[in-house]
Subunit: 154 residues, 2 copies
């Protein structure tokens, strides 16, 4: 066997399953960073890339929003109603990560600051979040269920 073929065999799993290059805990650290960054940048495409096709989001006072396409439309509508708003702080602190096969869960506390346009006062929101994650066919962890509710300032 040539050295090139050997090298290919060694590297192949990293190309086939990019999400599996690290252990699940490291993979979900990356997910958590991407999740925070997408919110901070108000990047709906990046946020939706983190959702399972059958994902459900459960938010205060709303009916359950079911399915990636429905969530994407809802998120686009939310951002469209906030021209000039910017997320200036998004801090999520996650706890009790549990991974079992292709499924994982974690809960966290969240802190978000949104700056409205025209110098209006910033909106400071503390909350709690619970996520159920599913590792998709491509090896990436995606949100199957997300729930958020109001928290308290520590």
């Amino acid at each position: 066997m040539s050295r090139h073929i050997l090298l290919l065999l060694v590297l192949a799993p990293a190309f086939v399953c990019p999400g599996r290059a690290a252990n699940p805990e490291q993979e979900i650290d990356v997910f958590n960073r991407d999740f925070r960054d997408a919110t901070l940048r108000m990047d709906n495409a990046a946020a939706m890339a983190l959702w399972d096709d059958e994902g459900v989001t459960l938010l205060p006072g709303l009916a359950p929003i079911e399915g990636k396409k429905t969530i994407a439309k809802w998120l686009d509508d939310v951002v469209a109603r906030m021209p000039g708003y910017r997320v200036t702080v998004q801090e999520n602190s996650f706890h009790d990560l549990q991974v079992s096969g292709e499924w994982a869960s974690e809960w966290g506390t969240t802190h978000q600051v949104v700056q409205p346009p025209d110098g209006k006062p910033a909106i400071d929101t503390w909350g709690k979040i619970l996520l159920v994650l599913h590792r998709d066919h491509d090896g990436r962890w995606r949100i199957r269920e997300e729930m958020w509710t109001q928290g308290t300032k520590p």
Copy 2:
């Protein structure tokens, strides 16, 4: 081998692992029924029997309540502040049950009616719930994380 020993061997697994007598989905159906019944009866001991020692409840406007003992004290305090109140309706409809090894998750919609004493108007509450369940050493499914938030009347 005597007939008695044979009978003991056949029956033993049911005694050793009562929670594993059925498949996980059936076990969690039983959990869901017990969970609803404990709330309906305002039976705090029965409710707390359904919690993992390291369980966390995440409720609107409150800090996370962490650990079975802390949750038990909080629940006793809540019920102590409601003398004469009765839960007359508790309907939970669960969806997307996923079981992976010793871990499971499900989300649901909830409808609760609480009747205050002295003929005051009933309190009608619609909500959404997300549960992460863990199968304990005794084979029983218990709540690791519970999150609830306000929903909408269908």
